[in-house]
Symmetry: C2
Subunit: 198 residues, 2 copies
Amino acid sequence: MSSPSLDELITSLKCLPGVGQKSAQRMALHLLEREQAGAKRISTAILNAIDTVKHCQRCRNFSDDTVCEICRDEGRDQATLCVVETPADVLAVESSAAYRGRYFVLLGRLSPLDGYGPGQLGLDELEQQFGEGDIREVILATSATVEGDITAQYIADCAARHGIKSSRLARGIPLGGELEFVDSGTLSKALSGRQEID
Amino acid sequence: MSSPSLDELITSLKCLPGVGQKSAQRMALHLLEREQAGAKRISTAILNAIDTVKHCQRCRNFSDDTVCEICRDEGRDQATLCVVETPADVLAVESSAAYRGRYFVLLGRLSPLDGYGPGQLGLDELEQQFGEGDIREVILATSATVEGDITAQYIADCAARHGIKSSRLARGIPLGGELEFVDSGTLSKALSGRQEID
């Protein structure tokens, strides 16, 4: 490119996930040619977010305040806690509109080889919340992988020591899923977890 | 989302071309969780590019200086001028490594209904360059659309008035193209433009 500033903009945009040289080029030219106001808005929003956003002291989700809006919301069911791996998972559960309890965000999953032990996942704080006596059920919404399963089992054991019931998200055929295209592991889970029709 | 700053970051990222709600969410969370240094770099690069990048006075391409590197490069063939629609097209031609002349960037194509007349495309400046007498051939690399063809014809007429030869990029089967999947218009151009084998 004939402009070092534009080159640097293209290179920096490659920090975005899923953005390679071609997309970064397209984005940079679009911002300069047609969207300078939007470009300034992105620049300000990034600096502002880095400065402002921290982790909620109670649920570890992203929040502008010490305790996030969801944790402060007294209209929510304080007796149910949904444990998820990432802030994106909170968004996913919220968008289902099927859950009105609180959350706890692990920001990872148990994986000692990668340096993720109970300390990194905030499991001490979680156990402390178990000890406070408000929670009656823990929904373990960690991912359906080996590490996710191990993390769920670890937390379930801990909850059991405090007399708290644990549950895991149902496994089965996704909505609109064609049986033909469902993998055998999922199908096996769907069979073993089959539900009686009333 | 439980954080207004994060919400604003997600909304602002939707200014990028081809980025919707889901991608913007993924990008924002990625920047905050794993790439704060990269995020700051993007923010700085945007502000710097908006401040620094202007259009080259000679070829209208993006440039940090009044006259861009390509126009200043005396090793380039000053007798050939390649007319393209956008700065991205300059990148494309440069990456072919098959051209060593100068460029002229129209920043659009003739389309009076959209408000793009000869004035917006800098055709007065182009004609002035024709008048200077250095240029012997104009390669019209506008896009292969109706507006691109009309723009090329308009510039070719203007070049002819100054006794300058014009050419248009060859139309035909793309490299690696299977005849079976080439559209009939392209095939028709490829037939009428067939080349003798020496």
